[in-house]
Symmetry: C2
Subunit: 206 residues, 2 copies
């Protein structure tokens, strides 16, 4: 399921960068696979919980599986969403030579890949390194959004395309968030330690 999610985002972005529409059918087919994966994974996790009554690490693994498929399934949806924006963009000439967006796309894909690797390897250290990279993705989004605003203000004919590009950047930012969630769950699975909201809660009142 994780491999299909990676492939989905990869193909959607390939369609964007190469201006090709053929890959989009494949993204949609992957999404249907990912949807089925989600349902099958949940069914299996529940069956194991009912029949084997696992504890400690095994229980955490199953709880993680139940949660993690939600993030993966949304990544599959995001692949489709990006494809739809790419189709709309392909109907017009490119707004500009894209520089930041491909770099953001690369970085986001790497983050997702490393989060899934950390899960498979049960590597909490690697998961921590993934989490640290989310600020970079967020910074890319802000930068791209600001740049797109200037294009919109320059010429009204840019507005529609700029909003499509902004959506793609926003979807990438959300893939980064999902990768972060995956990585946080890996830490929980391996160490039994819930690090979600750690930054936010420690800096605020109890």
């Amino acid at each position: 399921m994780g491999a299909r999610c990676e492939r989905s985002v990869q193909l959607a972005l390939k369609a964007f960068i190469e201006g090709s529409a053929e890959l989009i059918a494949e993204v949609k087919s992957l999404d249907r696979h990912i949807d089925r994966d989600e349902m099958e994974s949940d069914e299996l996790a529940l069956r194991i919980l009912a029949l084997r009554q696992p504890v400690a690490h095994d229980l955490r693994l199953l709880a993680t599986a139940l949660k993690l498929v939600t993030d993966l399934e949304r990544i599959g949806d995001i692949g489709v969403n990006i494809s739809e924006r790419v189709l709309e963009l392909n109907q017009e000439p490119p707004l500009k030579p894209y520089v930041d967006l491909p770099v953001m796309a690369e970085e986001t894909q790497r983050m997702l890949h490393d989060a899934l690797d950390a899960f498979v390897a049960g590597d909490a250290e690697a998961a921590h390194r993934v989490i640290e990279r989310d600020v970079t993705i967020d910074a890319y989004y802000s930068q791209i959004f600001r740049e797109l605003l200037t294009y919109m203000m320059e010429d009204v004919r840019n507005i529609y395309r700029a909003t499509r590009l902004q959506s793609i950047a926003k979807y990438l930012e959300r893939v980064g968030d999902h990768a972060t969630n995956l990585a946080e769950m890996v830490v929980f699975m391996v160490k039994g330690q819930d690090i979600r909201h750690a930054g936010k809660l420690s800096t605020t009142e109890k």
Copy 2:
């Protein structure tokens, strides 16, 4: 946790409609509560799974709880996101008299409220009715987006505010998605029947 999510979205939208900034501190405080609720709920669900080894309906309830808190936690984040956009909007005069966005906001809040009610009551029929309403929310988003595009094209000075309003509409659309997820989980919890992706998978190849 559900009540806090409702309140968070409600306050963020009140801040938007009344142009008031005071409510935003409360939204942020609610978000921190919701984050803690998520962690506590997960801890409790795992403890019950480990100690009681539940089966059938009880097991489905716990699996639902593990999944559902993820959607609720994101709704808490969305409350904060909406507040941030409201703060940015408040720095300038309103773009136009808002008509559709308050209606969309009302409808989204009702959907969330009804999804949570269906969970508490274990009412699968009510959950089905919630799911059907998501198309309306999506239609509102498309309509608002199109209208905002025309404002952007009319005057460059509208662009920034229009992008803030678009974000708010998008966040509402996502609250609708989360409410739909909650409702689908209620059906699963009550009937043991996984209806996710039902429409999408039945209309496509096996």
